[in-house]
């Protein structure tokens, strides 16, 4: 189940609100846990035992490692077990397929492909569980002795299937008995409605355009539409994921949980490094704290720093899925970050805060182009089509005029989609006085959000097309 499904909005969510408000403060956690389990089991009952096993494993490992004797052994066991679970469900198929490709000589005996279904949200909850174990091991958070509360931390439905990746330390206090704060409830609901509108109107409309263009024959793409597809997908993935994060943070706030922010206008980034500070912040913070810094971070030699960046970004790419295009996307970003560092060493002006306006503009334009190409790598299905797509973007397509309009795209090229594209571009940059806080304070903006919710509800209930990109990770 996803937040933007008709069933969630019209049945699951209202039922949860009724039970949550009706339950006294003693039973609110119970209601949340039951509904979280239902939320997960409804979409994939077979995957529920996997999540329960992860909960039990990490609960026991944390309890064991908190003892003085053999603590580090339990810690290592817990981390390896988590990684094995992730590897088994997410990467085993991919590894076997690639081994079979290498063995595909005539007469060679191929390995049987296991075809293991990927449990929803496994990357998110395994990372949460690992962060908890590491923090307990480091002594940064106390061990959670209540299995019930720990289960709630891992399975809490707003962040369960698509993040943000919530550290235990940020919700440890909230997991205790929470009050019901009407202001938080209202603000959370408003944020949820804004997220829903972003998803339904902007992400889905742009998704339609991006799908039309990326799903057509790449060699039939005119140059203009190749750019249009790349921009549409870049905006779609941002609005899709940030909308889901808004909804998750909003629901969390309704129940008095404080989840971390996941996006900070990534397309306003001044450099690739700045982009990664603003994009999927909960994942990048996780990778920084639990992988980049333990590898040595930037405290050692310059070469080691570049190596660390490449390793971390490769892991970031592979976290998104077991596929070569994600690995290449990760490495591509890693090379970009490392390249920026090298340039920064050569020329002090090529830094985030260089004083020359022209260089600043050039750097920003380069960053946007770099990100766009990255999304083409992310979105195209084969390496050949990716190379051809990028070639058409920059060199044009000799078989088609710059702007010729293939007829198969008639469904996606509507005024409404163009309007949503413009709105998406405008709101992808920080605007003065347009923040969530300003909406919370203004009655007229709240009325606007309410009308948006009514319209989103109408669209949601009557439209079948509503893919959610990060659901599969």
């Amino acid at each position: 189940m996803v937040f933007s499904s008709p069933f969630f909005i019209s049945v699951f969510f209202p039922c949860l609100l009724v039970f949550y408000v009706a339950a006294g403060s003693h039973f609110r956690n119970m209601v949340l846990l039951v509904f979280s389990m239902l939320f997960y089991a409804w979409g994939e009952p077979k995957a529920l035992p996997v999540m329960l096993a992860v909960i039990l494993l990490n609960y026991c490992a944390a309890l064991a490692l908190s003892r003085q004797t053999y603590g580090s052994r339990f810690f290592i066991f817990g981390i390896i077990a988590n990684l094995c679970i992730l590897f088994f469900f997410k990467y085993l198929d991919f590894i076997v397929q690639n081994i079979n490709l290498l063995l595909s000589a005539p007469g060679a005996r191929l390995l049987p492909e296991p075809h293991i279904p990927l449990p929803i949200g496994i990357s998110f909850y395994i990372f949460q569980a690992m962060s908890y174990l590491i923090d307990v091991y480091r002594g940064q958070v106390p061990v959670q002795k209540s299995l019930f509360r720990f289960a709630l931390y891992i399975s809490l439905f707003p962040q369960l299937v698509a993040g943000p990746i919530v550290r235990y330390s940020s919700v440890a206090n909230d997991l205790g008995r929470r009050g019901f704060v009407a202001a938080n409830f209202q603000e959370g609901l408003i944020r949820f409605c804004i997220g829903l509108a972003k998803k339904v109107f902007i992400a889905d409309s742009l998704g339609y355009v991006a799908d039309c263009i990326f799903d057509s024959q790449v060699n039939s793409l005119p140059c203009l539409w190749a750019w249009c597809g790349a921009i549409a997908f870049a905006l779609q993935i941002y609005y899709d994921f940030s909308a889901y994060s808004d909804m998750a943070i909003g629901i969390g706030k309704m129940f008095n949980f404080t989840f971390p922010e996941n996006f900070n206008f990534p397309y306003a980034a001044r450099s690739i490094r700045d982009f990664w500070r603003r994009w999927h912040m909960s994942l990048t913070a996780w990778l920084k704290d639990y992988l980049y810094i333990p590898l040595g971070g930037s405290r050692r030699s310059f070469a080691t720093t570049c190596r660390n960046i490449l390793i971390v970004l490769l892991c970031c790419g592979m976290w998104h899925g077991a596929s070569w295009n994600f690995a290449i996307w990760g490495l591509y970003n890693g090379l970009g970050l490392a390249g920026e560092r090298i340039l920064g060493r050569i020329s002090k002006n090529w830094a985030d805060n260089n004083p020359c306006l022209l260089l600043k503009r050039l750097h920003r334009t380069f960053t946007i182009l770099f990100i766009l190409i990255g999304w083409v790598i992310f979105r195209t299905e084969t390496l050949d089509s990716c190379v051809l797509y990028i070639k058409i973007m920059f060199l044009g397509n000799p078989d088609h005029s710059f702007y010729s309009l293939p007829i198969v795209w008639e469904n996606c090229l509507t005024y409404s989609n163009a309007i949503f594209l413009i709105i998406a571009l405008v709101f992808s940059q920080p605007l003065k006085n347009v923040t969530f806080t300003s909406v919370y304070k203004s009655l007229s903006l709240q009325i606007g959000v309410f009308l948006l919710f009514v319209a989103s509800y109408a669209f949601l209930m009557t439209t079948d097309y509503s893919p959610f990109l990060y659901f599969r990770f």
């Binding site: 077979k46 007829i407 209930m461």
Partner: protein, 376 residues
Amino acid sequence: MIMKIKIFPFLFIAVIIASWLMPAFFIINGFYPVYKKPLFDIASFLNASYQNAFEKYLTHKLPSLPNLLVMKNDIYEILNFGQYHSGYNGKIAQGKNGILFEKNYLICSWGYTTGKKLEKLAKETAGKLDILQNLLARRGIPLILAMAPSKVDFFSEHAPWQYTARELGPMIGSAIAGPIHEKFMKNRHVPFVDCYAPVASAGQGKEAFPDRGIHWTMYGAGVCLRALSQKLHELDPGKFPLLEIDGISKTSEARYGENDMAELMNIWPAYKRGRDYYYLADFKKISRSLNFVFQGDSFMLLLAANMELSGYSTHEMITLFDNRMPSREEFIQSLEHTDALILIGNATKFVQPYFREIAEKLISYLEADQTDPGKN
């Protein structure tokens, strides 16, 4: 002071409750999938298919769903400045002066295929239909292929600019696809009725197609039925009488899906200003009650309705396979008392291998049938 009252959650809940309690102000029967309540079993629950089916069933039970659909289409209408309407799950386009088109027709008219490809397709289809015709002849059943006229051919100047403003060669609609198919069907002696020609020659495109719908008027289908009866009459004058149209009558009552899309998309205001007439063919009544098996799409429903009105056949004596392939048993059984098998489709079906594939399937049914009188 007002901000201290947390009104937003109440409004939110009110919308959800209203959507479950508010009755529908519009009827969308036939345009939205009807889901049956799924039966629970452990296997379907574990693979989540039960949940998916239940979600669809429950949300489509929402009483106010038609209101929400109309609201969505209204928003689209505003966002698209009323010039390019994209409603009914994106299948309908609104052209100039509010004329509605089904997008498939627009696509097949501009750039979907080329004349050469179409000739190859028509030749292959004619070959297969010839085989089918011979197999049916053993049972004494004539076969007729008919092509419904396309609204785009008559209202091409009203088509949305997205379709016309491109350099993809000449328009290919029923006006082109008809003669090409006719040529190849003639070579193979497969009876073919191009319904574009009779409507075009009468210069009655306006009467044959409703502005506010994407289908045909009863009159449009009536003219085609007359052409069809003529072809059948040529095949067997004793069995199939010739139908004659006495005149044309006007009604302000929309029936037979003539205003379906306008109703669904809630674009009444544009149509309330005039253009409120629908046309019916006045047949010279006969009472023949012939048996027919139709394999086709929405156009055959109007043909069948005209057959009943003219007395050419009755509801009980017409078997319709509407946009679906019958099973072998169904098809063989339907042939038992049939006077003719009519394959009919709109222009979009003639630019795809639709009839070639249908012919192949029906040939396989007939060849496998042990009751074939010519087999022994």
